[in-house]
Symmetry: C2
């Protein structure tokens, strides 16, 4: 029966396409940058907007406080026969900062559909993909089911948070405090990528993350480098010397114990990965690079999916304006993150980094640290029923077998759901490698958005028809 | 005769003290930041103001174009008996940027006299010392002579430029084009420091400067560190690795050939310097440091006066705002300067730095460079007559023997005057180590300003009475 209704739902999605896009644009216009306290009101506005929208689809929607930006929880009863599964859908309404804003070709919060150089239609705006565009594919699929059938094919609870881009600091406490409201059989997350523009994918392995900030202080004030240079310690010199030693000549991370517990890939997986067409030509050339920069002796696909890494995400000290200033600054700081794989403990990695810095500080220098976030790596069961049902639905929509893939990125909520709510997660998303997420000119293919909505409509049907475990 | 008039001039300076301060404040209120194009109008305003002021003292004053901010040239005829020397006075009206502005205790362009913690009266503002306060000591001395005697005791030409803080890029061409207007017997510059708050000094050795900016580019756009981290080259990692290698474990600069031509101090000078009370306790403790950071095995006084150095004056790349962003930036850049001593060629040092960076670039990275300025070190003749005359006058005013000292800073105009105009320079200034020049809360001791004016009044008399060489 669900399958018969699905056809009508898919027809409605096609007919309602322009309205879906207009609703996404409304959300994209809200400047919900979670990292910037100046945009706290915009974050609240995004939450209110989503709660209002979900209420219009029959959901019991609330905007709930956290220790930071609020979360939206919305419960929709499918009026479905008992025995059908209950899913918890997770997305986030917050977006990354937009700097350097001068590199955007359009204002980042004025979304538009434009023609990509290769002819694709793309939606351009901050959050177009991550995660407003992705999250709205699921919302629009629910809307279509509700419009056509008057209800959802199964029970759906929404959890939409506003602090994903700043480390979801208050999420675990929120999950603990709302266990009953968030009870479900499994979770769905739309925040990942396709294998390629024509091939859908379900992500089953995610790297973890440790993100730390270090600030080194030397003199009690900025100094003139002519008068003091040579005698006064320079914190930029100290910082570059320490950070410059984080990798060895082979691209390996030098923190003592960094690779403890990291396993090599099983030979069969390694053989499969070797066979994939994942080459510098396909992966690096579009971003202007040609040579993998990670550990020598590892496949590039290992470097991004299954090996831990270290990146300096930001550095600043001294005079950075136009022209020159002969200053020895008092302070210099850097943001450093580590992508973790199975077997690595975030707390140990953070401690190892801080010890590494502290042990290398010369006399007269001090280091302060800020913990921005941390989460272990996640491996999901490739055989769980909801995942297989979603895989079938995706393959039908795209006319190609959906791939089960790893991802270099981190989605800590997956581990949090398992630990606090006992839920497994199915990760389906429609992002592409060239979406410029976290960068200027973020985009989402119009095809990703439109077929993403259709994909979720199919997945909801497939999950509804799946026998409850 | 000059000596008799001097007494009246000094009396007038005392009586006119409040007005002198008010005139300095007027100049300090002009935001003449030469590094920032947004302040070009303010630079022009400072030049106009000074020309107008000098004209009121009987000078034939003009604001003349350069390739950048304008220069003031003002010629004052002393109506002095022939045979008296003609001096060229040099100062600069431009000031350093004020960032980080949040560390200032008062708005940087609202000058005030405040009480220092130790009881000294200090003038606080950007430029209070460097160089508006210093330059006005000479202007006020001329004003007093003009007021009391109706003329100056000798011929004075002013050259006040507006690009000293950005490398004086257009100065040499300007000197070449105005040789005739700037003809004199020797030059006076007020842009240096005292030995200590009670002991005046004449600076006879200045380090040179090479200031370069390097920008490293990797990918053609900013990347998400989860998706690309491990495979994509990170320009901050490259930059820190290269800059972190500029010093070895002994604090020596590692550029090949950097120390070529650098001579050790003559044993008698080294013995004199060892005897000076120039210790970490006196020099570093006030700025919160305790251990000299330069070449091991060298006296601290060598490290700042007679040894070449390398400092990173600024670095920036990636996300530097509040919170976290998992970005691998496309670019990272740094401002790097070298203080040079006699025997080092600025062009060779710049070339060595650029070669050092370029040779260490990994595949897929490029480096661009910006030349901000360069000047060789300068050594002046300790025995020249105007210097000895100035030394006598300073010693009389302060009641202590004026010291002949070196300076770690660079005043390239000294070399430029010698090469283009054939002039030797006498460097007299009233700055102190704790003046915070180029830093937040720049100050000039009220005593430096007041006794500086008196010092110049005496020096003008001493130079007028000096037999022309």
């Amino acid at each position: 029966m669900t399958t018969q209704k699905l056809s009508a739902v898919l027809d409605h999605i096609e007919a309602d396409s322009d309205n879906s896009l207009a609703r996404l644009f409304t959300l994209l216009r809200i400047k919900s940058i979670s990292a910037d306290p100046a945009h706290a009101k915009d974050c609240k506005a995004a939450a209110d907007h989503l709660a209002h929208d979900l209420a219009s689809l029959g959901f019991a929607a609330e905007v709930l406080p956290t220790g930071g930006h609020p979360a939206v929880v919305a419960k929709g009863n499918g009026g479905a026969p008992s025995g059908r599964p209950h899913v918890l859908f997770y997305g986030h309404y917050d977006v990354q900062p937009v700097d350097p804003v001068e590199l955007w070709h359009r204002p980042p919060f004025e979304p538009a559909v434009v023609d990509h150089a290769d002819g694709r239609k793309i939606i351009v705006a901050r959050g177009a993909e991550d995660d407003k565009g992705q999250l709205m594919t699921f919302v629009e699929a629910c809307r279509a089911w509700h419009k056509v059938t008057g209800s959802l094919p199964l029970d759906v609870t929404f959890l939409i948070e506003g602090e994903e881009e700043v480390g979801s600091k208050h999420l675990v406490a929120f999950l603990e405090n709302h266990k009953k409201d968030l009870a479900a059989d499994f979770a769905l997350v739309c925040d990942t990528s396709m294998w390629d523009p024509d091939t859908p994918a379900i992500t089953t392995a995610l790297r973890g993350l440790v993100y730390d900030e270090v600030r080194i202080t030397a003199a009690n004030r900025d100094l003139h480098s002519g008068l003091f240079g040579g005698a006064a310690q320079n914190p930029i010199r100290v910082l570059t010397r320490i950070l410059g030693g984080l990798h060895d000549d082979n691209g390996c991370v030098t923190l003592p114990g960094f690779y403890d517990g990291v396993k090599d890939l099983p030979p069969d997986i390694l053989a499969q990965w070797k066979a994939l067409a994942f080459t510098p030509e396909t992966f690096l050339k579009p971003i202007g690079l040609s040579v993998p920069a990670g550990e020598s002796g590892r496949l590039m696909i290992e470097q991004v999916f299954s090996r831990p890494t270290c990146d300096i995400n930001g550095i600043v000290g001294g005079y950075t304006g136009e022209g020159s200033k002969t200053v020895i600054p008092s302070q210099a700081s850097a943001k450093v993150s580590f992508r973790l794989v199975e077997g690595q403990d975030p707390a140990k990695i953070r401690a190892a980094f801080r010890a590494y810095v502290t042990e290398r500080l010369p006399k007269d220098c001090t280091a302060d640290f800020i913990d921005h976030s941390g989460a272990p790596a996640v491996s999901l069961d490739w055989q769980m029923k909801p995942l297989l049902a979603a895989k079938r639905a995706l393959s039908e929509e795209w006319g190609r077998e959906a791939q089960l893939i790893g991802s270099g990125g981190s989605i800590p909520v997956v581990g949090d759901f398992k630990r606090t709510l006992g839920l497994d997660t199915v990760l389906v998303g429609f992002g592409l490698d060239d979406d410029n997420i976290h960068s200027p000119n973020e985009k989402y293919d119009l095809k990703s958005f439109q077929k993403g909505i259709r994909s979720w409509a199919r997945i909801l049907a497939a999950l509804a028809d799946m026998p409850k475990a």
